[in-house]
Amino acid sequence: MERRELESAAATYAYLKGLLGIPGGLLAILAALGNWEWGPLRHTWVFLGAALALGAAALLISRYYAEHYGRVTLSRAQRRRAAAAVIVGAPLMFVAALLLRSRAGWSLDLPVNAIPATFALLMLATYAAGAVLRTHHVIIFGSLAVAGLLPVWDGADPSNTGLVLVGVAIIATGIFDHRLLVRRFGPPKGLKLSNAGA
């Protein structure tokens, strides 16, 4: 294995735990359905219960990765970069979404779907910052950004449709990320693993 590949293994692993995207994407879709007051999701407690269940699923998935692929603590520099992406990126996305389309007086009020557009750009920047940007990220989030920025979203507030698109994109990316992780580190039961070595 090459030096660069070995040195980037931890960052690759941290970003490509794709199955975690499934509960994340489902949460975005459920939030949209809740906002639409669809079926049982018109009750807030149903949404909260579903969110808790998805949180529990995310914990189980984290445990699955830890047991089959191991635990690693990223270097301080890597953790600082990831924290900076969240601290800077999340408010930036929020402000950009308000600027593109909102009821704020200073909004450009364009006929776009601001949530998927800004989220897609944020994700592309995050993957690029982690040096793990792959073709499927560009295709999925690129398409999401284009879909959001197409001037076809006039009329009623399209935020909930945007949330559904975001959820689908997160799930699709997660599946591809997980496949990439399996290709890079091997199938879950591919090695005779032990954590009690040395």
């Binding site: 040195e7 089959h68 191991g70 091997g186 070595g197």
Partner: protein
């Protein structure tokens, strides 16, 4: 010339491919457990265990045995000496590569 040759002596303990892979992975993180090292280096349990013992005896890595959810877990981190030695080793390899180019 002899001085130059002496400068380019490679660290035999580190130069072994398995140990070089382990130390290179560890040089990019704060710590990693046994399974992660197995995954990234592709070494068998026995080989990885034996290399880690050698590296620990040489003071290049620190091994912590702990329990996570009642299961044994071996966590490994580079020592300051280990971090220095792997950095030196890679710079020596780069210099050798440049000399031969």
């Amino acid at each position: 010339m002899p001085e130059r040759d002496e400068e380019l002596v490679l660290d035999r303990l580190i130069h072994e491919p398995g140990r070089l892979a382990i130390l290179t992975v560890l040089s990019s993180v704060e710590d990693a457990d046994f399974v992660f090292l197995q995954r990234t280096t592709g070494l068998t349990k026995g080989n990885l265990s034996s290399h880690l013992t050698k590296l620990e005896e040489a003071g290049l890595v620190k091994i912590e045995k702990r329990f996570i959810r009642k299961r044994p877990n071996t966590n490994v981190a580079l020592t300051a000496v280990g971090r220095q030695r792997i950095a030196n080793h890679w710079s020596q390899l780069e210099r050798l590569k440049n000399l031969s180019a």
